[in-house]
């Protein structure tokens, strides 16, 4: 029995003298592995042009549908990305993201990757929807953001998010997805993708009560 006590105490003593594994987070932080899948990054080319071409393939591949992309046409004199098309809006709902990396896999230009950032908690749920300005790699010669003014103009706050006027269609990915959920995929659920190339001969029916 004495032997066992000595053995136990020896182990304890050894551990007492070894360096602890824990760190004083958040003052101290450990490096994350290079292939860590944390918050996304939108990359640039070396000349500063954005890699993202707004093709929405990441959004199409995302299993949870948390990416929202709106594309626009490049001004050839002052392009945002090489080619004709760029993303004028790019939002990811991090609350819904499962950090699977499928978006990075789908991207034809390697514009999006999952980065080392893992501190994603926030006091407000809206803030967990990150915008293009937040996701984009900063670049010395670029203005902090090339994010254009909201297409709807007035009503947008500093983050570019718009106030939701009651009765106005919601615009932000966050609200959009929720609104769609609640209304069961919108007013014409089920019509999507069905080639309606013949005169419809169904009865007028109410799929929805507008009241």
């Amino acid at each position: 029995m004495i032997k066992e006590i000595v053995q136990g105490m020896a182990f304890t003593l050894k551990q007492m003298l070894s360096r602890p594994l824990t760190v004083q987070y958040p003052e101290e932080q450990k490096p994350v592995p290079v292939r860590h899948r944390g918050r996304h990054i939108l990359h640039r080319y070396d000349n500063g042009l954005e890699r993202c071409i707004g093709c929405e393939l990441c959004a199409a591949n995302c299993p949870v549908g948390c990416i929202y992309v709106e594309a626009a046409e490049n001004d050839p004199a002052n392009p945002v990305s090489p080619g004709e098309r760029y993303a004028i809006r790019y939002e990811i709902n991090l609350m819904r993201c499962i950090y699977c990396g499928y978006c990075a896999e789908a991207c034809p230009t390697e514009a999006i990757t999952l980065g080392p950032q893992y501190e994603l908690a926030d006091y407000r749920r809206e803030h967990t929807v990150v915008t293009k300005a937040e996701l984009l790699e900063s670049w010395p010669h670029f203005a902090q953001s090339r994010r254009p003014p909201s297409p709807r103009g007035a009503g947008a706050d500093q983050t570019g998010r718009e106030e939701i006027d009651p009765g106005v269609s919601p615009r932000l990915a966050w609200d959009l997805v929720d609104a769609r959920r609640q209304s069961g995929q919108g007013p014409h659920a089920g019509d999507l993708g069905i080639p309606a190339d013949v005169p419809t001969v169904t009865e007028p029916g109410t799929t929805r009560d507008n009241a």
């Binding site: 071409i53 005169p199 169904t202 029916g205």
Partner: protein
């Protein structure tokens, strides 16, 4: 290979063919391609198009047919009795792979930025029938112009063109305008406009739909959405009374494009640019959103829909009590659905008891349902067609394509005449024709009637191009002075302009306006005075405008793409519209507002006013609508049924 000739049946004009071991009997003259489609066998095509004549230039559809020494294009080979076709053997697979490999040699890797990506035949067929790899080393491709605007509507990417000729043939065969050509030859062949001019056609918007790839795209739809995100609402084009079928494709509660929805009886899959590119107006956020009371001299305040409806009923009842029911004027609109207009007519005549109801400004005298007897598809059956003035084709542009089809396919003579043309001269011009169609717009109806009367020696049928998407429905539903629903005679009343004038002079004390009514807003000054003078102006409207601005009771309405209902086109075809967008207001839909208003005014037998229930009641009351169902023609004269 064993040959299995289908047993020759009775001579019913059909022949039996065997495709991939399955037999089918199809009419003589059917293309192998269509016979295969009948069996559900897919044959990839590029140059073939259901509405264009075969040219067999792309060789994508090559199939093996027994007894033919070489593979045959399915899109240009007609079936013969006992023909045995194979579409799924190694030979055909190899041919398809070869064609695709060639097409891709110089095709750019644009799919991620190409508007066609996701609904592109080149993508789809490469995925389904392609070789998977290319044997051509990665060398520089042949380059042409990209993002070349051909007009304000159309963008051309010459690199993406697969030289199927469809666009060229569309201009040759469908519109006759010949604006696009293929230049150069061999690998340098490129699609361009004649002399590099801008496109001028009124039907350019069909090009991107005809093009199987992303070479021709819409400028208005450029990078707006990916096809897989679009929510599709089969509806009707709201721009004119022709009633072309469309799919209103929306993304994130915004309509991004109108796509054609082939109805061979109406649009034949072609849309005009005015209609196709009219979609942005439905995305406007300038909307009437809240019910409001704005008593004359009092303070304006937001109320609930229920309060607004009671207030409207109170005001209308007060006017009726004081000045009689004839002091109320009721105005509908050609943008309303049949259900709304039917309720509005009943509300005016049966509940309020006023004969003053109309949907447009001008009087519409001696309305005769026979003037809509000529159906759109019947135009092709006519030997001669008389079009009075430029207005019919300006108001319903797709009519032009139907006339061109009648000319090209059937050899019909189309006489485009001045509206003042002498009826007897027209009659002599069409002498000898067995079936004659006379087409005019609403202002030239009377002249068209004289022309029709002057023509002897042939069956004459008339078509009047009505104004507004549901102008015909408004007439059928009796939103007219002196004519109740179903063209039953009713006590005569004032027409639109007279209603406004009477209100401006104080003879009418209340106005009930169901909008939006762009025609009404053209009345200008008299409208302003009428609205200012009337004691009560009850407006149900979706857009803030002159009427909504002057309302004493304002009730938000639903826009065309926010409600269910039916509209009737100029030939009487009753077609369904469906919501593509969520309503901009929580107020009940117009049919329910009108029903509640009727109930408040003392009507006992009205139900809640669900569009479907109203539609049922409407069809129970109007036999032609019951017969038309959804998609059929409501005909009011025996002759038109022929």
């Amino acid at each position: 290979m064993t040959q299995t000739p289908a047993a020759p049946g009775p001579d019913d004009g059909r022949v039996g063919v065997t495709i991939d071991g399955r037999e089918v009997r199809v009419p003589k003259g059917t293309l192998v391609l269509d016979a295969a489609t009948e069996l559900g066998i897919h044959i990839p095509i590029y140059c073939a198009h259901a509405k264009l004549d075969p040219v067999a230039v792309c060789r994508m559809c090559l199939v093996h047919i027994e007894k033919f020494p070489k593979p045959q294009p399915a899109c240009a080979t007609t079936v013969a009795e006992g023909m045995v076709v194979t579409t799924n053997n190694a030979e055909v697979t190899k041919l398809r792979e070869g064609v695709l490999e060639f097409l891709l040699v110089n095709h750019p890797l644009d799919c991620p930025v190409c508007d066609r990506g996701g609904e592109c035949d080149l993508q789809d067929f490469t995925f389904r029938y392609g070789p998977g790899t290319s044997r051509f080393p990665i060398t520089e491709k042949v380059h042409f112009a990209k993002a070349l605007p051909l007009s304000q509507h159309i963008e051309l990417d010459q690199e993406r063109c697969i030289l199927c000729w469809r666009c060229v043939r569309y201009y040759d065969e469908i519109t006759g305008e010949k604006e696009i050509v293929l230049q150069q030859r061999g690998v340098q062949t490129l699609v361009t406009t004649f002399n590099g001019e801008q496109l001028k056609s009124n039907f350019q918007g069909n090009l991107p739909e005809v093009c199987p790839v992303g070479a021709l795209t819409h400028r208005e739809y450029r990078f707006r959405a990916r096809p897989w995100e679009l929510q599709r609402a089969p509806s009707v084009c709201p721009e004119c009374s022709y009633g072309c079928n469309i799919n209103a494709d929306s993304r994130d509660f915004e309509i991004k494009r109108f796509a054609s929805r082939d109805n061979p009886l109406v649009d034949d899959m072609w849309l005009c640019d005015r209609g196709r590119y009219s979609f942005p107006q439905w995305n406007t956020s300038e909307r009437v959103r809240r019910p409001q009371l704005r008593p004359r001299g009092g303070e304006q305040r937001d109320v609930t829909a229920v309060e607004a409806i009671s207030a409207a009923a109170r005001e209308l009842r007060a006017v009726v009590d004081q000045h009689g029911s004839g002091a109320v004027g009721v105005l509908g609109s050609a943008l309303n659905t049949n259900e709304e207009l039917w309720l509005l007519g009943r509300l005016a005549r049966d509940v309020i008891g006023t004969p003053h109801i109309d949907h447009q400004l001008e009087p519409f005298e001696k309305l005769d349902p026979a003037e809509h007897a000529l159906g759109i598809a019947d135009i092709e059956e006519c030997d001669a067609l008389v079009v009075l003035g430029a207005e019919p084709e300006a108001e319903a542009p797709v009519l032009t394509l139907r006339l061109f089809k009648a000319e090209r396919k059937r050899g019909a003579r189309v006489h485009r005449l001045d509206h003042g043309a002498d009826p007897s001269r027209i009659a002599s011009a069409v002498r000898g024709a067995k079936t004659i169609g006379v087409i005019a717009d609403e202002t030239n109806r009377a002249h068209a009637a004289r022309v029709a009367a002057a023509i002897t020696g042939g069956a004459v049928r008339r078509l009047t191009v009505t104004r507004g998407v549901n102008g015909r429905g408004a007439k059928d539903m009796g939103v007219l002075p002196g004519l109740a629903a179903g063209y039953r005679s009713a006590p005569s009343g004032k027409h639109g302009r007279e209603i406004l004038e009477a209100a401006a002079s104080g003879a009418l004390r209340a106005l009930l306006i169901l909008g939006p009514n762009p025609a009404l807003e053209t009345a200008g000054d008299v409208l302003q005075r009428a609205l200012a003078r009337a004691d009560s102006v009850v407006v149900i409207d979706s857009r803030p405008g002159v009427c909504a601005g002057a309302a004493t009771v304002l009730i938000p309405g639903h826009a065309f793409f926010e409600k269910h209902g039916t509209v009737t086109n100029l030939e009487g075809r009753v077609q369904r519209i469906r919501p593509a967008l969520p309503p901009a207001t929580p107020t009940p839909t117009e049919t329910r507002v009108l029903s509640s208003l009727a109930a408040e005014l003392g009507a006992r037998d009205w139900d809640r006013g669900e569009p479907s229930a109203v539609n049922r009641a409407l069809r129970a009351a109007l036999a032609p609508y019951a017969a038309a169902g959804n998609g059929g023609r409501a005909t009011w004269v025996a002759e038109a049924v022929a």
